[in-house]
């Protein structure tokens, strides 16, 4: 099987109120060196062997997994995964 690990992040310039709250909380805990935090998503897909991974995953990200108006995505592929 093929494992695809997808990271989805907010585009630079898009406000991230959640990230801002995380940053402020870290600052409150004493981590004053944290200047910025952005919160994104991580997904793992398990695909059938023989899948045209790049073509299919790009399409899935564009159609559903990410919203291209506000989000960017990148992914890594592991072939020959057994479970």
């Amino acid at each position: 099987m093929i494992k695809v690990k997808i990271h989805i992040t907010l585009k630079p310039g898009v406000l991230d109120p959640q990230g801002k709250a995380v940053q402020e909380s870290l600052n409150t805990l004493g981590y004053e060196q944290v200047l910025n935090a952005r919160v994104g998503k991580y997904m793992e897909l398990t695909l059938e062997e023989g899948t045209d991974v790049d073509q299919q995953v790009e399409e899935m990200c564009a159609k559903l997994l990410a919203n291209p108006v506000i989000e960017d995505y990148e992914y890594t592929v592991e072939e020959g995964v057994t479970q």
Binding site: V14, L15, D16, P17, L64, L65, V69
Partner: protein
């Protein structure tokens, strides 16, 4: 005139929407389960608020992949009215019927109260009963109503007069105080505030009723001979 109120798993303003169309407005209306096949017998489509699919992935994202959205696109392509409120607006954005996207409210809070809105465009089939720049009061109830679009899209929205409602006191961080927009053709309206929750005095106000009345009036003028 017959309205379809689309019910998704997780919709929770569907009954309010039905009540607004059926009882407050006095038109024909039916609740239509999202797996139902076609919308041909309906004149207008109402997408209610709520939390379709529990807001999984992104608000409105999962609902936007359902078959009924293809039907709604065909309905919209015929120039028939489509109104999406709150989660309904989010579904319209995710399905590409309207431009832009929703972000979490700037203050990260779920907010539920009346807000003052300005009617920026009263030349649409949804707002013709309002005066231009009329200030109305409608309830909001959302955690993700912070409308976002890029500069180019915003410019286009402004040039085409697609911004229909703005907040008088922006509660959520939306760009240009946007509370509601229409598509270029003017027959698809998405808005975060809830007109269906303000259709009679006992609900705290009736400013939302004019929106439904506008739809009915314009439909009659277009389709009923001698109206």
């Amino acid at each position: 005139m017959k309205f379809a109120v689309i019910v998704f798993p997780g919709s929770n303003c569907d009954r309010d929407m039905y009540f607004a169309a059926k009882d407050a407005l006095g038109a024909d209306a039916e609740l239509v389960w999202y797996q139902s096949a076609n919308l041909e017998n309906y004149d207008a489509v109402l997408l209610p608020g709520g939390f379709s699919y529990g807001d999984y992935l992104r608000t409105g994202a999962i609902a936007s992949t359902s078959h009924i959205v293809t039907e709604i696109k065909q309905h919209a392509a015929k120039g028939k009215p489509v109104l999406g409120v709150c989660n309904g607006f989010q579904i319209l954005l995710e399905s590409g019927l309207l431009p832009g996207a929703m972000l979490r409210n700037k203050n990260l809070k779920f907010m539920c109260h009346f807000e003052k809105l300005v009617v920026e465009n009263n030349q649409t089939m949804f707002t013709s009963d309002y005066r231009e720049k009329e200030v109305i009061s409608l309830p909001i109830a959302h955690g993700e109503g912070n409308y976002y679009c890029d500069e180019a899209t915003l410019l286009k929205l402004k040039e085409n007069n697609q911004i229909v409602f703005t907040y008088a006191n922006n509660p959520n961080g939306s760009v240009s105080d946007i509370a509601g927009i229409v598509n270029e053709e003017g027959n698809v309206l998405g808005m975060m505030p809830h007109p269906e929750r303000a259709v009679e005095a006992i609900l705290g106000g009736a400013d939302g009723l004019k929106l439904f009345k506008s739809v009915l009036t314009n439909w009659r003028e277009a389709y009923v001979a001698g109206a």
